[in-house]
């Protein structure tokens, strides 16, 4: 199941609706829904945030193979940036030492079982895997 979305934060509501339709059709246990929404939003908003001038839509794909849920986001006009290598923020430090921001991709990595990045010219694809167990 695939759909293209405008490169805009306002498209998020439609992205979530698309995900909910998929999760309902596939009868995915509700305990996985939050993680799917969080990961989808995090990657989608990163693609929007770091290339707001582009008019290219972003392709979102959702697929299920047995107990494996695959989320793919394809950007056809991206400067190569491997989100899977984003630096980790320390989460065991005092509020004075905490840095606001930067937590999203780190939490996405923890909520997903795998996160993969491919780049080919201006095209980037991020694939997230969550095991439905």
């Amino acid at each position: 199941m695939q759909k293209r979305f405008p490169r805009a934060f306002d498209a998020l509501a439609d992205v979530f609706r698309f995900a909910d339709d998929f999760l309902a059709v596939e009868q995915v246990d509700p305990r996985h829904h939050y993680a799917v929404h969080f990961a989808l939003e995090e990657v989608f908003t990163n693609l929007v945030k770091y290339n707001p001038g582009s008019r290219q839509e972003i392709l979102v794909g959702l697929d299920r193979a047995s107990d494996r849920l695959l989320i793919t986001l394809t950007d056809f006009d991206a400067t190569p940036y491997d989100m899977t290598r984003a630096p980790e923020r320390r989460t065991d430090v005092s509020i004075e030492e905490r840095q606001p921001g930067g937590l999203g991709l780190q939490l996405t990595r923890r909520l997903m079982d795998d996160m993969d990045y491919e780049s080919n010219g201006r095209q980037s694809r991020i694939t997230l895997t969550r095991m439905l167990r």
């Binding site: 934060f9 998020l12 969080f38 908003t45 989460t91 430090v93 921001g101 999203g104 939490l107």
Partner: protein, 99 residues
């Protein structure tokens, strides 16, 4: 659908889904907080990293300015798990929602 209100005694009430499209509305309220206060999440279903960042930024500012901070109350199970992964229990006072 998302809603944010400042109720009695400065209590901030969040409801619905706080995603990145709500940044301006949430910043407008949190940037105006000048003293320690309660953030009521009883009807908050979802919070993304945008919301987490605003909470951390506000907590840092209030702690530095007043020594007190935000108390996050009525936190649902999913959000509480996210807070745990983000290490929030070390930097916020958090009360889970008990249905």
């Amino acid at each position: 659908m998302f809603d944010i209100k400042v109720a009695e005694q400065g209590r901030v009430v969040l409801a619905g889904r706080l995603d990145a499209s709500q940044e301006a509305r949430v910043n407008a309220v949190f940037d105006g907080l000048q003293s320690p206060c309660v953030i009521d999440m009883k009807d908050l279903e979802y919070i993304s990293s945008l919301g987490l960042g605003i909470l951390v930024r506000t907590q840092k500012r209030l702690k530095a300015r007043t020594g007190g901070g935000l108390r996050l109350v009525n936190v649902n199970r999913h959000i509480n798990e996210l807070f745990r992964l983000a290490g929030f229990h070390q930097i916020f006072e958090i009360e889970a929602h008990t249905p």
